[in-house]
Subunit: 468 residues, 2 copies
């Protein structure tokens, strides 16, 4: 079904159903993705309530005008920018930014979809609870987009990804219908799980306007350690041992390669060196325990019982020392950015396959050319950011013609382990072809059938996830 | 679209595509639900592989013959029995009963859908891991049905329901297409979440034939306590305090009312009385901790710090004492069965609303008549089994005409708290009208659209969840 670009006549019609405050004079901030790689087009409309979203969707549905839900705009796969095809309405959630209610005894917080992640964390903290979703862009990412992309981040090993934090949704469908699926329930087996269908659908099935989110008890004591491990295989074994010693208390388990340290040096990013020499492989881990238990003691206990899995280590003796260690991890993406990757990959494989994946990927890339590899990330989830860089003195531009070969090699290898070519970033527009290449055909057919059933005119974020 | 009953001619056709072993001589075990309340009709076919399931589905799709996936047959809402309409093929998963693989370092176990829950638990235990799903029928319930109904049980507070245990699925669709969605990945954001759509769809969208399941570390030390609490409100506060003291280590948190003890006595079921007099309200809780931590000590610590939330308590000093306490909880459903409920309800409300729900329900039922109420269940999840019984000397038959009024009153009340009328048992055929009454209209419309998209001829378990 042909879609129509948003035009002045249509915007005039919208002005009849929406207040003037919903119309933004300057759309520039909404048209370029965060790293400046792609830019899009569109007319930004920012409703202030679910009813206004419904009115907007009803109008767009009637006029066959495409709609791109726009949350914090921090996504890395172009789900929020449309460069070609009919010009869309960009539906900004920025004005729906209220915490609706906090239920301390239920451990539930209900929010508008436009609330910024850091504000949800703060609201939970205010009542002595934890909202555990945490990632680099938490100061600007909004809940609607975090759910629409099923965001991951640092604490997935313990608390799960965005999906697991969500108990219920309020969603406006393509035709303007409002589904009130907000819920404070922990258990509800009444009908199909539409919540999880919407979560991760990247704005292609409906607009998330509100969410009931789960809060957790705050650990009473936390501790951080950076352990030097001999090999990635030892890191995997240490993860198992950590489970035995610490149960579900392991909050983060991040693999770091020496290349990450080297890039910080090369990029001139300052940090406190935890060891004289940067270790080849290390694991940054965080533990949180309930009252009357020493998290630092628990890490010391693990260290003493790790045998030859750990070569050396620093267990932070203070909050500021822990912050210094985490600063290293948090700066790695900035170091990468300054060096300039030839190709970056957000892959996952079964955790036990991580060592073999790393070994094989190194060998395969050596056949393509000479590169520096910064392999780091969420080992506890089997999720690696496997990023390929030029050698010192060369630039990413020098390898432009090898980029596709590198990407295909890394993705093929991950796929051969039953892995994923988008572990936490989603499909957006960047990976539509990857999904077609690596996705199960029956799954793709089902996705298409569901898309056609829930968005029969194809106005919801056309071209994202599924080809328009 | 009209469906055709399975008949001898169609069965002969099936014999051309399936081996003789797939045809069962005697279908009696498959036609009556576990409590004997309803019976159905059908021809039982039991394929031994996903390809045989695919061949069967292809044939049924071609001939417009309905199919009822049949797992352990332990469901309580009639999802597995068809009493009216076209006679279906009953697709038994009993011959697909192999553990396919166990991946210890990945904490993953891959199984056929026909594997019995207790066998999954045992296979995980064999490698030092825990498969945490646990419920009364674990000796006969099979994984396919447990996932299709998103089963709950005792350990949901810590480990989540069946959905959370599942990383991937193998599913045969209505037309015989096989979706290979098996996965050992912890993170995979490539496309719509079809796994969670299938989970809880009660066999109305496809046949689950295999599953990748998550295993957990086994707690090194476990302890159980029965705490007497002054009120349900104190139980809710104790749950909050338990979170602060024990973090995610609370494995079960079950509310028990004195009526449960009284029914055990009245029904002649033997148990070791933990207190001289059965307490009005008590909480049975279980804690599991990693190595080098005393679970019993942790419960003593909680007891000492609970203030007036706990009136009295027994902390089990041995495994056998813990078993004695759990036996009480496990016998409560049998006690109920022997007394004979007028009406049973599997409801959930926000945890903080449980005390008010209990108070109001008592008042509302008193207006309908004189009853004994056994309210017990998974307080940690806000899930109560709120069951209404005749007074001593009377029988459920005496209250036959009040049954609908009781059910409506309890369900209306739960709904008024934003609660669920089926927290863990599902919709089946028993609660189709409830779903229509209490479900969000937009949700129902989406469910219907998805059903039509994925099962266009309506052959998958017709009449379950959605009206045929």
């Amino acid at each position: 079904m042909a879609l129509n670009s948003v035009d002045e006549i249509f915007v005039e019609k919208l002005r009849n159903v929406l207040p003037g405050a919903a119309f933004l004079a300057d759309p520039t901030g909404f048209l370029v993705e965060p790293r400046g790689r792609w830019s899009g087009r569109g007319v930004v409309v920012s409703p202030a309530s679910v009813d206004e979203v419904s009115a907007l969707m009803t109008a767009c549905f009637g006029a066959h005008v495409p709609v791109v839900p726009y949350s914090g705009g921090t996504g890395l796969v172009g789900g929020q920018t449309v460069a070609e095809g009919p010009v869309p309405v960009i539906l900004s959630l920025a004005r729906m930014n209220k915490v609706r209610a906090v239920y301390r005894h239920d451990n539930v917080i209900e929010v508008d979809a436009g609330v910024i992640l850091a504000d949800v964390q703060a609201a939970a903290s205010d009542v002595g609870r934890l909202f555990p979703l945490s990632l680099a862009s938490e100061g600007s990412a909004r809940i609607g987009g975090l759910l629409a992309t099923n965001a991951g981040g640092l604490n997935v090993i313990r608390y799960g990804n965005a999906r697991v934090q969500c108990l219920g949704l309020e969603v406006v469908m393509a035709d303007g219908t409002i589904w009130n699926g907000m819920s404070r329930l922990r258990k509800d087996n009444t009908g199909y799980d539409l919540r999880d269908l919407m979560i991760g659908s990247e704005g292609t099935l409906g607009v998330i306007t509100g969410a009931s989110l789960r809060m957790m008890p705050r650990p009473a004591d936390e501790a951080t350690a950076l352990f030097v491990v001999p090999t990635p295989a030892a890191a995997v074994s240490l993860l198992s041992k950590a489970g035995e010693h610490l149960g579900e208390s392991v909050t983060a388990f991040e693999l770091i390669h020496r290349q990450g340290f080297d890039f910080l040096d090369e990029a001139g990013l300052a940090y406190k060196a935890p060891f004289k020499e940067a270790p080849e492989w290390s694991v940054l881990m965080k533990v949180g325990l309930p009252v009357r238990r020493s998290a630092q003691g628990a890490l010391e206990d693990l260290f003493e019982n790790a045998g030859d899995l750990i070569l050396d280590g620093v267990i932070a003796q203070s909050v500021s020392q822990a912050q210094d260690l985490w600063k290293i991890r948090e700066m790695i993406p900035e170091g990468n950015r300054r060096i300039g990757a030839v190709s970056s990959h957000d892959i996952s494989v079964p955790i036990s396959c991580v060592p073999e994946f790393i070994a094989l990927a190194t060998a395969i890339l050596a056949k393509i050319g000479q590169f520096r590899i910064n392999c780091f990330g969420h080992l506890g989830d089997g999720n690696l950011h496997y990023n390929v860089f030029p050698m010192a003195g060369r630039s990413r531009v020098d390898h432009q013609d090898q980029r596709d070969a590198i990407k295909t090699a890394v993705h093929d290898l991950a796929h051969s382990f039953g892995g994923s070519v988008s572990a936490e970033h989603g499909i957006g527009r960047l990976k539509v072809t990857d999904l077609e290449t690596y996705g199960d055909p029956a799954k793709l057919a089902m996705m298409r059938a569901i898309k056609d059933a829930l968005d029969p005119r194809g106005i919801m974020n056309p071209g994202a996830v599924l080809r328009a």
